[in-house]
Amino acid sequence: MQPQVLSSEIMHHYLRPKKKFPNVWCAGCGNGIVMGALIRAIDTLKYDKDEVVVVSGIGCSSRMPVYLDFCTLHTTHGRALAFATGVKFAKPRLKVIVITGDGDCLAIGGNHFIHACRRNIDITTILIDNKIYGMTGGQFAPTTPGGAFATTAPHGNYEKQFDPVKLAIGSGASYVARGTVYHVQQLEKLIIGGLSKRGFALIDTISNCHTYYGRMNKEGDAVAMIDAIKKQAVNIKQAETMPPEKLAGKFVTGVIHEHDASEFCEEYESLMQRLAAKGR
C-alpha cells in the first residue's frame, strides 16, 4: 500500500465523517498539523476509540475535538483541565487528552493548569501555542513576546511572558516537552511519550497564527512563519552542547523534563485500599 493511502486510511478512521468539514481553521493553520500528529500517535498506541476522551476549552485549537471520533467534551473557556480532572478521576481507565491554546490554558485557565500539574493526574495536555488569541481576533496572550503587536497591544506588548514548560516543571508535571508544527515526526513522538507516561504530561506545541500574529507583526504567511519556527527550534540534545549566547532568540524542543512520581488517581486508589484494609 502506498504511504499516502495508508495515511488517508488512518485519518478517516479517526475523523468524524458527517457535517464536520470543512473545519473552522484558516488555511495554513498549525492546528490541523497537531490534529494529524495526535491521530497518528493514538493509532501507534492502538487505543480503543471508545476509551479516549478529548477535552477542550474555548478558542481555535479547542475546536479540534468536534472533528475527532472519540468521546469529546468541548467545555468553557479555560476550564478544560478542571472538567478533564473530573472525567479522569471518575473513570481512571479512560485515556484523557486535553487540547488547549495559550490563552485558554495560561491566562483564564492558568490556575487549573498549575494544579493539574501539581496533582500529577494522568492527563496529556497538548498546548497549541501560537502567541495570540485567534478566535476573538488577535489580542495579546500570556505568551505574546514583549514588543509584539496585537489588537489589544496596538503600540506593542508591554507585558512579560509565561514559559509554559518552566511553569509545568515547577508545578510538578511528570512529562514536559516542547514540539513544533514544523517538526511533525518529533511532535508525534512527543505525544506518544506524553500519553505513555503515567502522570501529567504537557506538550507545548509552537504553532503559527499568520492570520493575526503574522499579519500584525509582519512575519509573513503560514509558510514563512513555519519556516521561522523551524529556524528558531533547537533540539535539546543539540542545545546542551551550545553556549547560552548561541541560544538567544531560539527555543528548545524535545523532552525537556521527565520524572517518575505517583499519579493522583493511583494515590487515591491506594488510600481506599488502606481504609478497606483497616475496616474503616
Partner: protein, 382 residues
C-alpha cells in the same frame, strides 16, 4: 463503611444531613472548595467518599469544582458539590454549561449574607433569585429549599433523583442556621425512599443521539467509556451535540430545556401547607423562616386568628398554579423572607387579585423570630 449507614437516631447538622442524603441517593463523586458556612459538607464527603468507593477531590476553586463534577457526571457517576454565595457566583458559568449539556449534577448552596463576601457566618435567603437566574441565557431551573435537618436529607435525595431523572443541574438552597443546626433524625432504611438510576441508552451506538428529542423530552444518557462516542458542547447544538446555527435547531434545543422540566412540574413541586383549610391570612416562607412561620401561626391560632402557612419546598420552578389555588380564599398573604424581597415577586405574580400580598423582610444577618411574623399577622388582620 459509611457512618450514616445506621438505623439509630443521630444528632445531625443540616450540612451533615446533606452528606447523608447524597450518600443515600448514590452520589459517588464530590468536588468542592472550602467556604463558610458549607464546609462541613466537603469535610463529610472527604471522610465518607473513600470509605464507600466514591471519590472526593478538593479543587483549586469553585469554578474547577463545578467543572469536575460535570466531567465526572459525564463519565457516569452521580455528582455533587457544595458552596455558599461567593462560590455559587463563581460557579454560574459552568452551571449554565450543565444546563446546556443536560448534565445531571447537584449544587448545595448554604446561603450567607451578601453581596460579595458579605456575612460568612450569618444567615440570609438572598440567593433565591440567583438560583433561578444566576447564569446567562434561557433555561429552567429546579431548586429545592428544606427547613429541617431531616428536610436537608430528603431534599438532597430528591435533588439527586431529579438531576438524574431530568438530566439537569439541581440546586439545594439551605442557609447558615439550617446548615449548622442540629436535630435528631433517623436515616431512612435502604429502599424506604426512592433512588433513581440514570436512564442509559438501549440502542446500538450508531443509533444513539446524546441530545435526542424523544417523546419524554429527557434523552437517555450514555457515559464516556460505555462504547458510545459523541460530542458534548456548551455551544448551542443539534441532537448529536454538534454546534448549530440553524434557527429551527436552536429553538428546539431551548424549548427542550424548558419543557423537559415543566412537563413534569407536578412531580417536581413539593409544598407543605398547614392550617390553610379556613385561613383568611396565609404566611408563605421557605427554609429556616418556615420554622418561625409555623410557630407564629400556632401562636396566632391561640388568639383565634384564622391563619395558615404555605412552605414551598420546591421554589423553582415556582409552583404557580398550586400557590394560586391555595390563595383563592385568602384575603392577605404575608411573604416572609431573609432578603429585600425575592420570593414575594413570585407570589405577587401568581396570587389571585382578591388576595393582597404583604412583604416581611429581614436582611441584617439575624433569623426571623416568630414574634416578628406574629406582629405582621396581627397588623394584617387589624
Amino acid at each position: 463503611m459509611s457512618e450514616y449507614a445506621s438505623a439509630k437516631p443521630m444528632l445531625l447538622q443540616g450540612n451533615e444531613a446533606c452528606v447523608a442524603g447524597a450518600l443515600y441517593a448514590g452520589v459517588e463523586f464530590f468536588a468542592g472548595y472550602p467556604i463558610t458556612p458549607s464546609t462541613e459538607i466537603a469535610e463529610g464527603m472527604a471522610r465518607e467518599m473513600p470509605r464507600i468507593g466514591g471519590r472526593f477531590i478538593q479543587m483549586e476553586d469553585e469554578i474547577a469544582s463545578i467543572a469536575a463534577i460535570i466531567g465526572a457526571s459525564n463519565a457516569g457517576l452521580k455528582s455533587m458539590t457544595a458552596t455558599s454565595g461567593p462560590g455559587f457566583s463563581l460557579m454560574q458559568e459552568n452551571i449554565g454549561y450543565a444546563y446546556m449539556t443536560e448534565t445531571p449534577c447537584v449544587i448545595v448552596d448554604v446561603q450567607r449574607g451578601g453581596p460579595s463576601t458579605g456575612l460568612p457566618t450569618k444567615i440570609s435567603q438572598a440567593d433565591i433569585q440567583q438560583a433561578r437566574w444566576g447564569t446567562h441565557g434561557d433555561y429552567t431551573a429546579i431548586t429545592l429549599a428544606p427547613s429541617t435537618v431531616r428536610g436537608c436529607f430528603e431534599e438532597t435525595v430528591r435533588a439527586v433523583n431529579m438531576a438524574e431523572r431530568y438530566r439537569t443541574p439541581v440546586v439545594v438552597l439551605t442557609d447558615e442556621v439550617l446548615g449548622h443546626m442540629r436535630e435528631m433524625m433517623v436515616i431512612p432504611a435502604p429502599g424506604e425512599m426512592e433512588v433513581y438510576k440514570r436512564h442509559k441508552p438501549d440502542v446500538p451506538p450508531d443509533w444513539y443521539h446524546h441530545f435526542e428529542i424523544t417523546p419524554s423530552l429527557v434523552s437517555a444518557m450514555a457515559s464516556f467509556g460505555d462504547g458510545y462516542r459523541y460530542n458534548i458542547s456548551g455551544l448551542t447544538h443539534d441532537q448529536d451535540g454538534f454546534p448549530t446555527a440553524q434557527p429551527k435547531e436552536i429553538k428546539e434545543k431551548l424549548d427542550k430545556l424548558r419543557t423537559k422540566i415543566m412537563r413534569y412540574a407536578d412531580e417536581i413541586y413539593r409544598i407543605r401547607a398547614e392550617m390553610m383549610e379556613d385561613a383568611h391570612v396565609a404566611v408563605i416562607s421557605t427554609g429556616t423562616v418556615a420554622r418561625s412561620a409555623l410557630q407564629a401561626v400556632k401562636m396566632a391560632r391561640e388568639k383565634r386568628i384564622k391563619v395558615g402557612t404555605i412552605q414551598p419546598l420546591t421554589i423553582w420552578p415556582f409552583p404557580d398554579q398550586p400557590i394560586h389555588d391555595m390563595l383563592k380564599n385568602v384575603k392577605k398573604v404575608i411573604v416572609a423572607e431573609l432578603n429585600m424581597g425575592q420570593l414575594v415577586q413570585e407570589v405577587a405574580r401568581v396570587a389571585p387579585r382578591t388576595c393582597e400580598v404583604l412583604f416581611l423582610g429581614r436582611y441584617d444577618g439575624e433569623v426571623m423570630a416568630p414574634q416578628m411574623i406574629l406582629d405582621k399577622i396581627r397588623e394584617a388582620v387589624k
